[in-house]
Symmetry: D3
Subunit: 136 residues, 6 copies
């Protein structure tokens, strides 16, 4: 009996959509106001979803207190109240679109979640724009 | 690396559940108060979900500004503040249930989204009733 | 010790913004697409707020089961799945704007709520547009 | 054309996480404050999702009025305003974790939904913790 | 320039509506299923609202980190994952209705908030039932 | 008959809490991680509330299309996708706390709303922190 357990979390960050190897004009042309060199920001809402067997002893797929703590260590501490472009190593040469942020979070979480469990990451950039990445 | 990008949109419309080839009594028996001949209406909340490869150049599956514009052209312009039964061609002979509205929206959007991407449509008729259609 | 108790409810209805004594052109000029003669509709979300002394015996300002039942009788039964313009007596000669609908609901509820209590009505026409009427 | 129709419902219940065959110390060690012997409680939000062919006659996968009534009979009546540990037969020897409650609800609903339809249950224990069970 | 700052918080608890000086029959007659002797529970959502002058030096009415910490000490620690009737001193002889819980929280917070500021407490017992208490 | 009409809007921006006349150490001590020199950001959710007499001719306090357009001109155009500290004139010497942003928005809107109407501004900095300013 495989069940998916989900935990919501939250972080605030500044970013801009931007490629170093493009000039400002091209960045602005492709990314519009999201490329503003002075940055803008978001309240990112995150759902981390872990699918696995229910442990017959505890009735848990995974202790949600542990999942909450993992999200704190792997996502909130490194990303909350940060400038994604200048302060987060993974985005030094990677455009921090919602898609790429979700993939970065998935990679960070994947290392910490048991390999017999599936992992999916849902990231809301705004209440109207969100992305889902499940690792393939 | 395939990611799903999602965009929420909104439209208001009047409708009634009704088959022309049934008499009023049978319509009322099957569809209850949803068949009221004077119409009622909803704030339809829509999520359009597109799954595809992340373009390594932009970091986008698809520019969400473009998806927003497509939803405006294909869904909001033709359906918002309309009477679905009398003013929207697809429902001239099709009962505008949430299921059928989702399929109509999916068909309209499918023509505009690149064929190497998957498409799914989620439609909330009320905050408690919603449907999902993914094309098969 | 005066406390405000609030109960949320919900109804779906069709309407159009329209004055009988104006021609179609003027209605369309003032009310735009909201004046579509074929009607459109909304999921109206309602909050009824009653302020009064806490009864020291029950700990209630008012039994919320009773408030829920009053809203059902006074608002949901007469308005849900109805066409406000053609099926609801109060709007025969009154434009069913959110403001006027809130006033109509307040008047209906006011007759049923004890006069030593204050009454306020909040009506969401869409998730982004809402009105509040408190009786003066 | 298979569509998923979803209905949201709600129930309030008390519970504690607890195994009879463990002593209080071990229950407290594994389940923390969720094991408080005096119980705590939740507003459980439930989404029941049914996937099937759209009936070409009605435009329904399944009449949502019927699904709403089934949820009332199978979930709300037996679980709402109850103590899950002491008043619900399925949890006499089963720890009422969100995972197990979702499985119990799925089993109750599965018996009532036509076998050519797929069934999935989403259960929110809090706005930040939720689980999904689809029967395998 | 007076501004209201608001902080949302959350706690889960079990309770029953019940007066010791009434017999079970009268409790059940007045409070219905909310009086179930085995308890039920809720995810209580809380908004604490503090109104005061904006400090021209910091731009704060009150540091929200400090308000968050006060709510944790005065509300979450004593009420979260508790049985309100049996484990919280204020309810030993007070019926834990939403009204009374809001008053208890207001009294606890009032002692900790500077007297030149106004205080209001909003408590959601369910997403559809909530109360507001402002101290008079 | 005075009614309050409310319109929700949204903008994303970067900011940091910071006083130029304090050194970095003091800024960090008072404002914590909100003072990060690389900025962070938010999805600000805004509610603009206008209270006035219902015009008996239109049934409107104020045409919400007009209010929506005013919010776009006065708030969204100048603040959306901006860095509040470096790109918005009002914050050149004013700390962009939620309180101060609400006051700035209120001042901008006040000039455009008829003086016989009351104005209130609610600003969500995060889903858990929000402020209200009504002009006094």
């Amino acid at each position: 009996m495989r069940v998916t357990v989900n935990r919501k979390a939250h972080f605030n960050a500044a970013h801009r959509l931007y490629r170093k190897d493009w000039d400002d004009h091209k960045n602005e042309q492709v990314f519009g106001k999201c490329s503003n060199p002075h940055y803008h920001g978001h309240n990112y809402e995150l759902i981390v979803s872990v699918t696995g067997e229910v442990d017959p002893e505890t009735g848990f797929v995974m202790d949600l207190k542990k999942l909450k703590e993992l999200i704190y260590q792997e996502v909130e501490l490194p990303l909350d109240h940060k400038n994604l472009n200048t302060e987060v190593a993974e985005f030094r040469n990677l455009n921090p679109t919602a898609e790429n942020i979700a993939i970065v979070i998935w990679n960070r979480m994947r290392r910490k979640i048991s390999q017999d469990m599936d992992l999916s990451v849902t990231l809301y950039e705004t209440p109207r724009n969100f992305v889902v990445y499940s690792g393939s």
